[in-house]
């Protein structure tokens, strides 16, 4: 209830503030943020129900009690909405809220096992920014085997055999998902080709959108690290490093998928975080999304290390980076290295966040294993 009130309050406050400033067409971005938040909240509720259920069936009452205490969906939605990064992105009329909406829409669709919706979200998100393509793995896992659960082998332990319902991987749904995805992709491409007929057709569109993303043509400074690297790199190495940097994202996809296959939502969060670190034109809007999604796992990540360190680091770098930009571009007394230093620090903090959240999720699973077996001593 409290969360809803706060959300309402924020909604009115922001709509009042923004309706004075922006025109109607820009409001799409602003509504996109709210729909995203509502969807995140729904995902959180689904996740929580599933979590409590599986914990009860495991008999880990300690964990299920804390899981009931904290409404993960509300927390995640509020974190997403109140995040200064979200507000800044919204005020800057960036289109990343719409990309975020599409990503969250596909996740929501997969959580509810609404196959057409999930496929639509995925197709639109990857149409808009290409990187969400890698989300196909968590989506397939979600659709095939359902929401996040503790590792399956825990259920197979002899003393918990009674509570365990065997959930099969439903290939039928996955095939359906792929069918729907290809239908939506075809549909989008046909629409694009119709609207681009007067210009140069689809080939030009791919070159200007995906080509632009993949070949890092625009080297204007952003919060990522690639612009600096590709401004420095020799031209004859450029293609090589382009491949290296893009393979970098793909390298992590498979190992993570194997290790975290039982928690597809968390896997999706990790993928989003990694791609927002390594993508060619990152923005704070991407960070806003994964920070919001982080709130979904608040119960599992209760013992996350370095949380205060990360908070201070994020705050410090995010305040420092506009000042460095000002020093370099407007005052002319600094140089590109000043700004790039903050970009590097930001990337480091993001990496620490991903590493720590993954390791504390794995620790959580280990603790569940101990907590579930009545003989073993509970550790904190």
């Amino acid at each position: 209830m409290l969360a809803q009130c706060t959300m309402d309050l924020l909604f009115y406050y922001r709509s009042l503030g923004l309706s004075l400033v922006i025109e109607v067409k820009d409001k799409a971005i602003f509504y996109a943020d709210f729909i995203t938040a509502i969807l995140i909240r729904a995902i959180g509720q689904l996740l929580q129900v599933a979590d409590i259920q599986s914990l009860k069936s495991l008999g880990a009452s300690k964990f299920s009690k804390t899981s009931e205490n904290f409404p993960a969906g509300d927390i995640a939605a509020l974190v997403y909405l109140w995040n200064p990064l979200t507000i800044i992105t919204c005020l800057g009329y960036s289109t990343s809220p719409i990309e975020n909406l599409m990503i969250v829409l596909s996740l929501y669709g997969a959580c509810r096992r609404l196959v057409p919706l999930a496929a639509f979200g995925l197709v639109m998100a990857s149409h808009l920014s290409l990187y969400p393509v890698i989300l196909i793995i968590p989506l397939v896992l979600l659709i095939g085997s359902g929401l996040d659960t503790p590792p399956r082998k825990l259920f197979l332990q002899p003393n918990h055999g009674d509570g365990y319902k065997k959930t099969n991987f439903s290939w039928r749904r996955v095939v359906l998902f792929f069918l729907w995805a290809s239908v939506w992709a075809l549909y989008v491409l046909v629409l694009c080709s119709i609207s681009l007929k007067e210009y140069s057709g689809l080939g030009e569109m791919f070159k200007r959108t995906y080509g632009f993303i993949l070949s890092v043509e625009d080297l204007s400074p952003n919060i990522g690290v690639l612009w600096y690297f590709f401004a420095e790199v020799f031209d004859f190495f450029r293609d090589f490093f382009l491949i290296v940097f893009h393979i970098n994202i793909l390298f992590m996809v498979l190992p993570l998928a194997i290790r975290l296959h039982h928690r597809p939502c968390f896997l999706a969060f990790v993928y989003i975080a990694i791609s927002s670190i390594l993508k060619s034109y990152p923005s704070v809007g991407d960070s806003a999304l994964y920070l919001g999604l982080l709130g979904l796992f608040v119960n599992a990540l209760a013992d996350m290390q370095f949380s205060f360190f990360l908070f201070s680091g994020y705050l410090g770098t995010l305040l420092l980076s506009p000042v460095m930009h000002n020093l370099w571009i407007w005052r002319g007394t600094g140089n590109a290295n000043f700004y790039f230093a903050t970009a590097m620090a930001y990337a480091c903090f993001q990496i620490i966040l991903v590493v720590e959240s993954v390791s504390s999720m794995l620790n959580h699973d280990r603790a569940l294993k101990k907590g579930a077996t009545p003989v073993a001593k509970k550790i904190q």
Binding site: M304, L320, I379
Partner: protein, 680 residues
């Protein structure tokens, strides 16, 4: 029992970097004491560590050409000065006559002349001006011809240039009350201008701005720069009434009312002549360089000027220094210590040359303190400050003759010297192919030919603030450990910091609110400075109480609260060190001991509590202001009024220091008091 070997077994798992971190955190007290002492020591060592300046950009080649200024130029300048002086004694409407005379002479020399008319814009309060640009809206109320001031601008087009770059000469003068030193500075500019119209080597256009400083020297230059950089469509002259224009029918020449432009500015020189005689044997040249928010022009510009002044014209170059520090005994004592250390070091190894004499040290520190103070205030020291807002390197060169006399011979000598100096600087800058970029932008001067670069002074600052994150981490980990021991089953142990963070955030929000209050206080008509100050103080207190009672903070652990406070202070200080180093350094000297020492009085011993109390009292910005004033021996006016005017000047000049005080220093001060009074 089972968990003990397990935790021991886990210990070697830590990565080396984490182990180093744990080691440092475990010895946080020693680290804090050592780092703080080293930081203060490094600050005191800065005059010793200062390096000699050198001209870094090869293209400048100062003094490689023989000065070309001739008797003809100087005698022309003499005539010009005589005409100005006679006009000054005769005429009534000086603020029209003098620009006209200057324009006439400029045109006769062969320059393109235009007038630039502007109105005085009173300084307004823009708390966020640091990040935003100046707003261009002019309030066109109650315009009279009298309220306009007229800058006269003469431009020489470079015979060898493409008109894309220019060098600016500025001579501020007050037409209502023209003093002899201002006429002399106009004369110097005239002689240089007269020479430059004839030379063939010019590659950059020359702009001579005779700035009408009846509304202040800074304002006239700033107004001209703003119009120069704002594209105006449909003619600049349309803004003004026709009556206000200086009619140029009488004089048969072309004076344009539209603003004439040359290229982007490579450098700007403000030429002034001091009206007080100098006591020394030589004529002296004072260099002023500080622009808004502690920004400095490129060091190469200062190097060129001081090189040419010393080696070319035999002037004694000096930089502003705090005179009252020259006689201080403790500074002399420190200087003697460093001198002896230097001597001992030299006797051990003759190659170590870091000792300097006591006199040098004291003078160096006096200059350094003044340099720090001027940068920390964020108020420009002259009209050159206006140029820095447009990324143009500019300095003020103030020539102070040893004895000021109106005798003809002395005047001619000064014209020669000043003219040659300016000519040499222009010739050097003229050689530049790019903007000034080779040398330092971030430096502190310890004398006219010695500087401390950013790489050196940052060490002092970083040593000073390094204990903050260490202390925060040690407090944090101690609290978390105590949680682990006391209540085993409580989850979210590592998220406990969220409650104190809320408190800290609220106090910083309060800081942001009170930094905006003066804007509203100014809406109250007819209030005295003292009453304004009291309204501000009482409103701030009221808002603090309201915020505190609305969002009643759960009485968090003081250690966690201190940890969060210390980290916020660290972030704030680091941020400020990038914006304005001098403010951050002075702020760190005040904040760091206060933040490190503070402890609830029930926990701390009597001595520490007393020390905390003293630190907190000194840490309040108002108290600091008075303490510094009395220590450095400035004269005391009515204290509260003086303080109000000081704060007023900070926000009138859009100084980032004001924002720092309100949004970092004051909140940390409040939090320290809160911790001090914490009931535990």
């Amino acid at each position: 029992m089972a968990s003990t070997p397990e935790t021991e077994g886990q210990k070697p798992k830590h990565r080396p970097i984490v182990r180093i971190g744990i080691f440092i955190i475990a010895h946080s007290f020693i680290v804090s004491v050592v780092c703080c002492t080293a930081g203060v020591l490094a600050l005191l060592l800065l005059p010793v560590l200062a390096k000699k300046t050198y001209v870094s950009e090869n293209a400048l080649m100062p003094g490689s050409a023989i000065p070309m200024i001739t008797d003809q130029d100087v005698s022309g300048a003499n005539n010009f000065i005589n005409e100005l002086t006679s006009l000054n004694s005769k005429s009534q409407s000086l603020n029209i006559e003098i620009p006209r005379l200057i324009a006439l002479h400029m045109a006769n020399l062969g320059g393109e002349v235009s007038y630039h008319m502007f109105q005085n814009q009173p300084n307004k309060f823009h708390p966020l001006h640091f990040f935003t640009s100046t707003d261009t809206e002019a309030n066109n109320v109650n315009q009279t011809c009298e309220s306009y001031a007229t800058n006269t601008v003469g431009i020489i087009r470079a015979p060898r240039g493409d008109g894309k770059e220019s060098i600016v000469l500025v001579t501020p003068y007050n037409p209502v009350n023209l003093s002899p030193n201002e006429t002399l500075s106009l004369g110097i500019a005239y002689s240089v201008f007269s020479l430059l119209t004839q030379v063939s080597w010019l590659a950059k256009d020359i702009i001579w701005l005779a700035a009408d400083s009846q509304h202040g020297q800074y304002n006239s230059v700033a107004a001209w720069l703003k119009d120069y950089h704002t594209p105006s469509f449909g003619g600049f002259g349309k803004l003004h009434d026709d009556e206000c224009h200086i009619s140029n029918d009488i004089i048969e020449m072309e004076v344009s009312d539209t603003l004439r432009r040359a290229g982007t500015m490579a450098a700007a020189l403000v030429i002034k002549v001091a009206n007080t005689g100098e006591a020394g044997e030589q004529d002296a040249l004072n260099i002023y360089a500080e622009a808004s928010n502690g920004q400095m022009p490129n060091l190469d510009l200062i190097n060129v000027v001081s090189y040419l002044a010393v080696h070319g014209q035999g002037l004694r170059v000096q930089v502003d220094k705090l005179v009252s520090l020259l006689d201080s005994t403790w500074l002399k004592f420190i200087g003697e210590v460093f001198e002896t250390v230097g001597k001992i070091a030299r006797s051990v190894n003759p190659q170590w040359k870091f000792g300097i004499s006591v006199k040098e040290y004291v003078e160096g520190s006096a200059t350094l303190v003044s340099s720090l103070y001027n940068q920390a205030l964020g108020v420009p020291t002259g009209s050159h400050g206006a140029f820095r807002d447009y990324q143009v390197d500019a300095i003020t060169m103030e020539i102070s003759p040893k004895l000021f006399s109106n005798s003809k011979g002395r005047q001619t000598e000064l014209l020669f010297r000043g003219g040659r100096l300016v000519e040499g600087v222009i010739r050097s800058v003229n050689n530049l192919l790019e903007k000034f970029h080779q040398s330092f932008f971030l430096y502190l001067l310890t004398s006219s030919n010695k500087f401390v670069s950013v790489g050196v002074y940052m060490i002092a600052f970083l040593l000073l603030v390094a204990p903050l994150p260490v202390l925060a981490a040690s407090l944090f980990s101690d609290t978390i450990k105590s949680y682990v021991k006391s209540e085993k089953n409580q989850p979210f142990k590592s998220w406990r910091w969220l409650y104190p963070t809320k408190t800290v955030f609220l106090v910083h929000l309060w800081g942001a609110i009170i930094s905006l209050l003066p804007y509203f206080i100014y809406q109250i008509p007819d209030s005295q400075p003292t009453s304004r100050l009291l309204i501000w103080a009482s409103l701030s207190l009221f808002i603090l109480i309201v915020l505190g009672s609305f969002f009643r903070a759960r009485s968090a652990e003081w250690a966690l609260l201190k940890s969060v406070t210390v980290s916020s202070a660290f972030i704030g200080l680091c941020l400020m060190s990038v914006i304005n180093f001098a403010t951050a350094e002075i702020g760190a000297l005040l904040l760091v001991p206060m933040c490190l020492m503070t402890k609830p009085w029930r926990v701390a011993g009597k001595v520490q509590s007393a020390l905390n109390l003293v630190l907190v009292i000194i840490g309040f910005p108002g108290a600091t202001f008075f303490v510094v004033k009395s220590v450095l021996g400035f004269e005391n006016g009515s204290s509260l009024v003086e303080f109000w005017y000081w704060v007023e000047s900070l926000w009138a000049w859009n100084s980032a220091t004001y924002i720092y005080i309100c949004m970092v220093h004051l909140p940390c001060w409040i939090l320290c008091i809160y911790i001090l009074l914490h009931p535990c």
